[in-house]
Amino acid sequence: MKDKPFYTILILIAGLFCFLPLFLDDYNLHVVILCLFYVMMASSWNLLAGYTGQVSFAHAAFAGIGAYTTGILSAKLGINPWIGVTLGILVAGVLGLAVGVLCLRMGGIYLSLTTLGFSEILHIIITNEYEITRGTMGLQVPGLVADYTKSAYFYIFLAGAVVTLVILYKLIHSNVGLNFRAVQNDERAAASLGVNVVRVRVLAFTVSSALAGLAGGLYGHYLLLVTPEIPSLNLQFLVLSMTVIGGMGSFVGPIIGAFALEVLSEYIRAYGEYHVLVFGLVALLMARFFPKGLVGIIKRR
């Protein structure tokens, strides 16, 4: 197996990252934490879109489910946030399984439409059930560590990102991962060779949703406030842009995209609301002219 270089590189980079809190002030550390959150989100979305060819618009919604599950449990019932995050992953995974079973039989467009609808339903429920979720005001949640420091959260997110990447790598480079590729390349040929197309897609969807739940849960406890901005189409759009700009269907693409766009967005924050417009235009041009993203441009050289 070609596993060795991946783990070496991952350990090396994660090891270098460990020293970052020594050099960076709180603001820059915050930016890196956000980058790591987006790495988790974009990489897990890429599992679905890049490796099985199914476009889900509910990835942010599943992050929201993770965030609200642990948020409600820890804020209202006083459950330990770590247990809350774990339950958030489970709930996101189970709901992902349900949505997957429901619409992956039809595949393609049906999944995209249903997930868009699903994320809209979730949004409506969260804004309407004010008593439980505190609606658009946001739900105040306790932190994951006793005394709140950026560097503690940095290590939590670093661990989260490493775990996510290892799970994804293992999955993609297993037999199941070969099935993903086969289904994406030619559904009928894969089915004729005995690949259960629906089951492969449902598996990818479930894993991807559960990982979004993990990212969302950690994110909520980092911000200390869970708002409907997490399960929003704006976040979905950011994650999608990062993946597309970085390079969909490649392992490092979403990682590069997440860092590139988050750092870029800090620079153009001065333009306020319009930075989404700038992102959109960049993403549109990239998607149109460089469908393989930044990774594709680098490889072509």
């Binding site: 476009v55 429901l102 989404v276 549109l284």
Partner: protein
């Protein structure tokens, strides 16, 4: 209450049907779902507002100009964004999704977050069947919606262009073999689909003012209608649109108004679980 919900349901149902027709037409021919459908609906609303309010044009001329411009914009979208993705359904989804966010933010930039409303066509209210008073503008929207839908059906059934549209959505390759220029057809039918979104926009804008994101629920409902009626089925759009309009308004009147848009999605989930091809859909070969 009952008759008012019925009336509201029919009016909004016709508009749903109209905007779903646009989505369905494009799906039937190109197998592409245009996620920017709602933003084109809004664009037409803004254009008609701009022409009628800022430039002082006659409202009917403004509406026609708005729909015409959206048609041209649709052709431009097809030519620049959709054409390179032929054969890759997923990529067109991503591109139109990004386009919808870009357009929303562009509207925010240009028009601001405030609701804009073109002037109404008619004033006052009419007593409907001695039950309740109903705004004339809404009644006019109902009539206009029915007229446009009828025009689309006549075009599809009676004209040469409608014939090649039906032929291509039944069997693309056979249509090509019989000399249909499908590239050309794609471009014009995409424009036409967008123009139908625009028509729905100009009809509904005087009733429900447009904001940069107010197209999202309309587009989502149109997608639900298309799945409910069956991908690519025109009659499915009519039945699905009316069903959804009625369910939403009865649900809002008798169950909970906050959950108005959820009822439609519950129907979507039921359809997917019980009959995924939709009411009028045909199974893929």
């Amino acid at each position: 209450m009952f008759s008012l919900a019925l009336m509201n349901g029919i009016v909004i149902g016709v508009i749903y049907a109209l905007s779903a027709l646009g989505v369905s037409l494009i799906v039937g021919i190109m197998n592409v779902v245009n996620f920017a459908h709602g933003e084109l609906y809004i664009l037409a609303g803004y254009f008609s507002f701009l022409f009628a309010d800022a430039l002082g044009w006659n409202i009917y001329i403004s509406m026609a100009a708005a729909v015409g411009l959206v048609f041209l914009f649709g052709i431009l979208i097809e030519y620049t964004l959709i054409r390179p993705t032929y054969g890759d359904d997923m990529y067109s989804l991503i591109l139109t999704f990004i386009l919808s966010i870009v357009l929303q933010n562009a509207y925010l930039f240009i028009f601001g977050p405030y609701p804009n409303k073109p002037p109404g066509w008619v004033k006052g209210a009419t007593n409907v069947f001695g039950q309740f008073y109903y705004g004339n503008q809404r009644l006019a929207a109902l009539v206009a919606g029915v007229v446009v839908i009828a025009a689309v059906f006549i075009m599809l059934k009676k004209t040469w262009f409608g014939k090649i549209i039906r032929a291509t959505s039944q069997d693309r390759e056979m249509a090509e073999l019989n000399g249909v220029n499908t590239k050309w057809l794609n471009m014009y039918s995409f424009g036409l689909g967008c123009a139908l979104a625009g028509a729905a926009g100009v009809i509904l804008a005087p009733v429900f003012p447009v904001t940069p994101t107010s197209g999202v629920p309309i587009a989502l409902t149109a997608f639900v209608v298309v799945v409910l009626g069956g991908m690519g089925s025109m009659w499915g759009c009519i039945v699905g649109g009316l069903t959804l309009g009625l369910v939403e308004n009865f649900g809002a009147a008798f169950v909970s108004s906050g959950y108005k848009h959820v009822f439609g999605f519950i129907i979507l989930i039921l359809v997917l679980a019980i009959r995924p091809v939709g009411l009028f859909g045909r199974r893929e070969s």
